[in-house]
Symmetry: D2
């Protein structure tokens, strides 16, 4: 069965597993105090061009969002996010479970508009009863967004400016950051993200690792005793090396970019295939997730030979579906998909 | 200064204070185990025509919402509310602080539409990734709503039916319940509310008491060990008599209705006055809160002689303001308001 | 039936109710922004000889402990308390519900020993794995303690010194503070408490009010946006005047001391009575709670004519019981108790 | 440098890494819905002789304790544990962070006594104010304990009996379960644990895995929607295969026992070495952790050539230290340790 349902259906990039094997017998300290974590942090600081960045490795995306948001917010604050943001919808209420409200503002193909954000914040602070409301204490964006779309440099800068004016941190969820950075249609680089964001994470799980995300605090703003709070929330791995070795490998010889570039190239081919065959797109995604509108009966026929993700109903007779590529997608997969599409 | 800014700016109805004085020297058990709480509960059961109702007295509205929602929901559940619901906006994130998401659906002059609720629930349960989303575990409505509007019997019945279908409780916030029941334009009675709702509260603080709300569980569904959870959330008064005596008085000789009727009659006069003077209304409220659109400069002149509540900006040059009446509003207050309006 | 079971079994001191009646018809702002709260705060600042004290009124003791502890601690911190502390045992886990551990150290007749506290803190900070443990972030003491005992000035000073050394706040639970201040055997005054403690509360509920506690922050250390967090935890009364008027009355013409002195004098008589009759005391309490050891059968006979509190089993055949006096106890009550004791 | 500081200082047993490589390119569903998780569960059910056991894989021990305790307890309940229990001391307050109190009773070399537990529960339920206290809702034990000691079959049965009487679940933390099962001095088997405990976990991280613990619910008592709560607490791995493949390998060809037996054999040699050299033991541990009392100056000399764990001060001049063995410890390591000891 052809497999385009997500970017986390295979194991890890081979180099990562090999490196885990090579380093396996060395005795190192636990809880992230090992040499691999240190080395990985140093490489990430360089890649971000942010020499004072404080970095912490965590196991997954929801865990990372929960920890960053809950430890950076005051108890009376909430996090502003687009209505379609991952923290708003698909994390089973992890933010609320930590005691904080997700303050939703409209998303535009997954993106937050800086002007709308500014109006929201302005209105909040002008409301005479704002002390009875949740304070907006952080802004959450994802890049790429849940719809595969990307912010431009100018858009990121504008959001960063609004956050600066209101003195609240801008947090970027980079679960699929590599695919954003390697997109053909972006003017955003990793150092820019480090410059415009107060905190962000570099996704590993969906970009070729077994598990793992690297949180980057860019302004000497890692919450005091972050490690203890990570432990308290059950997120501190005893064998922290598992994350250190993986990120050290991902940031050696440009592997993170190479993995991402492969997925982007395959996504481009997949997009071209659907365009060629005349399928309508739900929106124009420049990254590894492509959203196609399928007629329901055709969708069912396709499902018999290809795995893809049912996104949402489009109308009575059509459905939005998602095809995703990853480091493991190869040209042959796209060619096989072509054959299937042509046959049904 | 004339005072229409809210319905909690004065103390309590005189009869309540007198009764507190009369009963003051009796030694009674603490924590709500006194004879006044018992007597009040019995009178409320009768007024609701719900002889098995379980009743608990709490001090305020946010406290009540927080306790009802957090003790009735499972950890993975959230509460569905209109975007304008008090729990969504004006409780400083109390629900989220208790670990639960407020799942917002559109409000229509403060009201939730049963069809929209049904579509929301249907869509949630059909979503293949619903296990990664917050489960809708309760429906919250307010009656009167935050905009003074009221559900009809048919609307309440429809909401109750949808909740029954999805097996989730319907919870009615009755902070101003008396004003709803005594409105000239309602076909809803207290027994109907007890019939259609799984749990609701009868507001005291905004209807003539010093403090206090009576939560009514109508289906033998008071959470086990509710008292301990009330204690755990800091809401158990040692001198529970303070609430018992007040509610016992409110439900003696129809005082609760009498207080509410007085406020409604004054609201009707106030409404007539603004209509007569040609002021536009933001919406048509049948209860004790009236929402008027004022031109900004006129508003400022009026503010020098009358206290009212700034609700929200209407447009560049106009503002929505709220005038509220209470048990303590008298005909003379309305006549004085007429003089002020005519003079400015 | 004679009634010595607790100090919250009657209503409020008459002057408080009278003042509520007198001020009832004035329209004042809600949520504690009224003139009575302001006036009460000013009087308390004077009584504490602490002109910059920040003061907030809350409804009850558990609520106050929960709010002070949870808003002053960082997420990774816990509060150190004696094993017998109210927060450790009798608040249904309110502190833990707010996410924080109560770090217990031994109590000595309810009191914490400064040297033991110092050793505890020293040992914690010397533990190489302390980052995996809960940080001691505050010290909680009660005065009078749960056993009616009192700290001396020197003991308070020593605790304050240890807290200062470790830079953690000292918090004093004064649910029955008046009885401590008016005890014949104390060298501790209210200004001293304000001097040695970073935060404390002056109990109203158990010292003649209907409800209410006054939290006093003595070092410009009231947590930012405390009101919003009070609202968020369901503890903000709409009619804040209820608390303001009560405390304003309690701190007018020395009423708080007068109420407390009455209870102390009655406790002295009660103590003398039990001593005269040869009853053993569980411990020597200088305040309004007296702990007597009763033979079980005698206890049962006594229970038929007098209400008192069963404290804890003493041995197979004896039980520790508590007799409490309050503002409402009069000489006649003690004389009636004498008759009962002599008759059984 | 010789390395005996813990049992998680190396990577994973080679067979686990090899199996991760072998299965790496297969596309499988995420979030634990893969064939490896299924296969591992089936093998664990067999090993436990509990065919209906419900099993869930999590990443680490604190995470597991936090999830099991917080999802099985009611909000008003706490978990009873020995004062030295991992949940009481070394999890940074994870249980309290989830809102629940750890109710401590004395530990005896890390173990809980069934009689003391019974007295504790009996006394709680007889306390007339128990509704103001935290309800004991679960019993937590560790096996091996934090001191390496083990319960006997009779002791486990007695604890299970007390829990059954009071209808609260018995939860066993098996972070190092393998070492307990393979000890020379135990009459406890895995099926017995499944029989006597309502829920327990089989530790992977400290028994040869990269990460991972297998929670086993033995009474059809896995909390409803456990997966959603795992997601909500940030503990659901997208690539659940990482845990599935590891546990499938550990429970193939008896690898889990083989790993544990190796560590136990090395621990026996290490124990014999210290006995032979006349070192006093802090207590008699039958598992892979050995606690030795060292004179402080000797300890410092030893630290220059061997890594071990400083446990706690013994007296002014001595310290308790811990030596741990693991799957990766070999005879040569013990022989090298002998040389070091003989040389200093």
């Amino acid at each position: 069965m052809l497999s385009f349902e997500c970017d986390y259906n295979k194991g890890a990039h081979r180099k990562i597993l090999e490196r885990l094997l090579e380093t396996n017998e060395e005795a190192v300290p636990g809880y992230g105090n090992d040499c691999y974590c240190e080395s990985a942090k140093e490489k990430i600081r360089k890649a971000c061009d942010c020499k004072d960045a404080e970095i912490f490795f965590l196991a997954g995306g929801t865990q990372t969002n929960m920890l960053v948001v809950s430890t950076m917010l005051k108890p009376y604050e909430g996090v502003v996010a687009a209505t379609t943001g991952h923290v708003s919808v698909h994390e089973a209420g992890a933010i609320e479970h930590s005691g904080h409200k997700v303050l939703e503002i409209p998303g535009h193909e997954g993106k937050m508009d800086a002007k709308e954000l500014e109006r929201y914040l302005e209105r909040y602070w002008n409301d005479s009863s704002h002390e009875h409301m949740v304070f907006p204490g952080m802004v959450y964006i994802s890049h790429p967004t849940e719809y595969g779309t990307l912010y431009t440099k100018a858009e990121l800068e504008a959001l960063s400016h609004v956050c600066g004016t209101y003195k609240i941190p801008l947090y970027l969820d980079g679960a699929r950051l590599g695919y954003g950075l390697m997109s053909k249609n972006t003017d955003v680089t990793l150092p820019m993200i480090a410059k415009y964001c107060d905190v962000f994470y570099i996704g590993g799980t969906k970009v070729g690792a077994l598990c793992g995300e690297a949180v980057v605090f860019t302004r000497h703003n890692m919450p005091a005793h972050f490690l203890t709070m990570v432990k308290q929330q059950g997120a501190l791995l005893a064998k922290g090396r598992l994350l250190g070795v993986q990120f050290d490998t991902l940031f050696t010889d440009d592997l993170y970019c190479q993995i991402s570039r492969q997925a982007i190239e395959m996504a481009e081919r997949l997009k071209a295939l659907f365009q060629e065959k005349g399928y309508p797109f739900f929106l124009d995604s420049p990254t590894n997730q492509q959203f196609i509108i399928l007629e329901n009966e055709e969708m069912e026929r396709l499902q018999k030979q290809v795995r893809f993700d049912i996104w949402e109903p489009y109308d009575e007779t059509h459905t939005v579906v998602r095809f995703a590529t990853s480091y493991a997608t190869v040209v042959e997969d796209i060619e096989n998909l072509r054959k299937v599409i042509e046959s049904i």
